[in-house]
């Protein structure tokens, strides 16, 4: 089908362009935006593979929730005007992409040379319900019940851990002086300065 191929190439080029943007853009904020574009292209690819539920989850959970978290942290930590001065240079800047290129060649040889004839087909014949929420839910609650429960517990542990990591530590910083309104409006105090001192 011509339309399917066209969609694959458009979405694939979008995904690769987004990935390159994440790696090359200097400002982390733009990197996050490039990752959002990448994730949306990837969800189109998931739809081509008839994984409708995962495509929706990708857009809602990843491009929606997780990326908002990233944007908040980038805004909190601040952009990176200062990051450019010590971005990698020298041998590491050459060796890193070289290793990645070697990995790509190796992976492509492994995929193309695997001799797995089913890779050159469009996959098994599947019905319209393949990848729909009904099928995913049924599998999650029957065959994969244990991983499902472990994943929920893992999310709980991660949430508690994030709160522990990012909370303000008492003892490291001086606790702020507490000034109540009663100190300021007390009539027997002389000046306002004395009132603040208590």
């Amino acid at each position: 089908m011509l339309f399917e191929q066209l969609l694959f190439f458009v979405a694939g080029l979008g995904a690769i362009a987004g990935a390159v943007g994440v790696v090359t853009l200097r400002n982390p904020f733009f990197s996050v935006l490039a990752l959002v574009a990448h994730l949306i292209s990837l969800s189109v690819l998931f739809l081509l593979l008839t994984a409708a539920f995962l495509a929706a989850a990708q857009v809602v959970v990843y491009a929606g929730a997780v990326m908002v978290l990233y944007v908040f942290v980038v805004a909190y930590v601040g952009g990176s005007d200062e990051e450019m001065r010590h971005e990698s240079t020298g041998w590491l800047g050459i060796l890193g992409p070289l290793f990645a290129l070697l990995l790509l060649i190796e992976l492509t040889i492994a995929v193309v040379g695997s001799g797995l004839s089913v890779l050159d087909t469009r996959g098994a014949d599947v019905g319209a319900a393949f990848g729909a929420p009904g099928q995913i839910g049924e599998l999650l609650l029957t065959k994969f019940l244990l991983p499902f429960e472990i994943a929920s517990f893992l999310l709980l542990v991660a949430a508690v851990g994030a709160v522990m990591l990012a909370r303000k530590r008492r003892g490291l910083e001086e606790p702020a002086d507490t000034i109540s309104v009663a100190d300021l409006v007390r009539s027997d105090a002389g000046t306002q300065k004395e009132a603040v001192r208590g």
Binding site: Q5, G12, A15, I16, A19, V22, V23, P28, S31, L35, H38, L42, L45, L49, T50, A51, F53, V61, V66, L69, Y70, E83, H86, E87, S88, G93, G96, P97, F99, A100, L101, L103, L104, L107, T108, V111, V118, L119, D120, T121, R122, G123, A124, D125, V126, F130, G131, I136, L139, L140, F144, P147, A151, L154, L155, V157, A158, G161, L165, A166
Partner: protein, 99 residues
């Protein structure tokens, strides 16, 4: 489209992410590149799920999404803690775990 196209595309994205992890210094961008690699893995899992014709690869991809979300939350928590303590946001100067 043949399944092999999707698998090769996922190899491409994985290698771009790996190059980013190897070359960038900011932990924020490194986390983003790890996301790229996890998503490339997801694409391969879903392609193989389509190839085999059962939904088990999709469940696997869903679990990978959950683990990636946990990883992001912990990583960003560490970055916020680094920022709070006025440490430089640079992976080279953060070489030990001791607070």
């Amino acid at each position: 489209m043949d399944i092999s196209w999707f698998v090769v595309l996922s190899a491409f994205i994985f290698c771009i992410g790996a190059a980013g992890v190897l070359t960038r210094r900011s932990p924020l961008v490194i986390l983003l590149c790890i996301e790229l690699m996890l998503n490339a893995g997801n694409l391969a899992l879903i392609a193989f799920s389509r190839m085999a014709g059962n939904g088990e690869g999709q469940i696997f991809a869903l679990i990978v999404m959950v683990v990636a979300a946990c990883e992001v939350v912990i990583g960003l928590g560490i970055i916020v803690a680094m920022y709070r303590r006025r440490l430089p946001i640079d992976v080279d100067s953060m070489s030990e775990l001791r607070g």
